[in-house]
């Protein structure tokens, strides 16, 4: 009688009694005829028994502390994200500072009104002129293309003799 194929993956189910009757009988017949599979089945059973009887135990845990920690984690998850963010001092302080700056700028803008080009030029002139003596003559200097060429400026009288004022 021809031997049935090696059961391989069915061996574990056979050892655990999980096979249907027809499959169980087929595997049993094969094991009776195949010493290799019979030896494998025997080894598998011993390994399973040894594993089951020697389960390593994890480090001990204080279950009260475990549940308390779990409660804190669960509470943190239930809190809406925006409330969680408020509990962080640094982003809260930065946001408050940014809001303050925006508020001040907004109020200043509302008080002074919208700036036109003229107002802006006047502001620029005031700020720059307070630091640069040359720009006291701003109305003259702005017409010079080569305002940095001081020799030309000094020798204007020589370049245009006879012109007054």
């Amino acid at each position: 009688m021809a031997m049935t194929p090696h059961p391989d993956a069915l061996l574990i189910a056979y050892l655990r009694g999980e096979l249907a009757e027809s499959d169980r009988r087929s595997v049993a017949d094969h094991l009776a005829a195949c010493s290799e599979c019979a030896r494998a089945a025997e080894n598998f059973q011993r390994i399973l028994n040894d594993l089951g009887s020697s389960l390593p135990q994890p480090p001990q845990v204080h279950w009260g502390a475990y549940r308390a920690e779990l409660g804190e984690k669960l509470e943190a998850r239930r809190r809406p994200w925006r409330w969680q963010w408020l509990r962080r001092p640094v982003p809260l302080a930065l946001s408050a500072a940014a809001a303050g700056v925006l508020l001040i700028l907004g109020v200043q803008s509302w008080i002074s009104g919208p700036l036109g080009n003229g107002d802006l030029a006047s502001l620029e002139e005031t700020v720059v002129a307070s630091r640069l003596d040359l720009l006291r003559q701003y109305a003259v200097i702005e017409r010079l293309d080569l305002w940095e060429d001081l020799d030309v400026v000094r020798r204007l009288d020589e370049l245009y003799p006879g012109r007054k004022g």
């Binding site: 391989d8 993956a9 069915l10 061996l11 574990i12 189910a13 655990r16 999980e18 290799e36 030896r39 494998a40 080894n43 598998f44 011993r46 390994i47 399973l48 040894d50 594993l51 089951g52 020697s54 389960l55 390593p56 135990q57 994890p58 480090p59 845990v61 279950w63 475990y66 549940r67 920690e69 779990l70 984690k73 669960l74 998850r77």
Partner: protein
């Protein structure tokens, strides 16, 4: 009368805190032990088992009662642990090489002839157990999870398949390859 896990889970879906606390008390040890068996790290086992309870709380409404509560909860926990191991796989390969999950079908290892004598009788029992569990640590994620669910939690093949979200035939293959690898380790002294 003591409420079933499934009834408690239904109450958790209605935000019954007492029911949730009771489920935690019932499963905390099993969850932590199973997580530790897969991860072999107490801190990670603590974190991930707690995460599994949090997800249980958040998803209790989707339980449905189609499967046993333990199957559903183990699936959450095992998936968390396996995902965590996969994310850190590169580091674990540097520290301790593990078998590839991509073993070819019908590898040569599985058909090696059995040892002429039983190796289990020759080695001291303590050494054998140490080598055995070291070899379990070296199995692929799926093989290890399937073996632990069977040996440690006593789950039948059908339930292991539901936890691992695969077929029963696949679970049998995982277990067969796992035991073949362990047998080879013991016989290869």
């Amino acid at each position: 009368m003591e409420l079933s896990d499934e009834s408690l889970c239904e109450r958790v879906a209605g935000r019954d805190e007492a029911a949730f606390n009771l489920l935690v008390e019932r499963y905390q040890q099993r969850a932590y032990r199973l997580a530790w068996s897969i991860l072999r790290d107490a801190e990670e086992a603590r974190d991930l088992s707690q995460e599994a309870f949090i997800r249980l709380y958040q998803a209790a409404g989707s339980f449905g009662g189609r499967a046993r509560f333990s199957t559903w909860f183990y699936r959450i926990l095992v998936n968390l642990c396996l995902d965590h191991r996969r994310k850190h796989r590169w580091w674990r390969r540097v520290v301790a090489p593990v078998h590839s999950e991509d073993e070819a079908e019908g590898s040569v290892v599985e058909r090696l002839p059995a040892p002429a004598h039983d190796p289990l009788e020759e080695l001291g029992r303590g050494r054998v157990m140490s080598r055995l569990w070291a070899a379990v640590d070296g199995l692929s994620h799926q093989q290890r999870a399937a073996l632990l669910l069977q040996v440690q939690e006593g789950l039948p093949t059908a339930e292991i398949a539901l936890v691992l979200k695969c077929s029963e035939a696949t679970v049998r293959v995982h277990l067969h390859r796992a035991l073949t690898a362990l047998r080879k380790t013991l016989g290869g002294a």
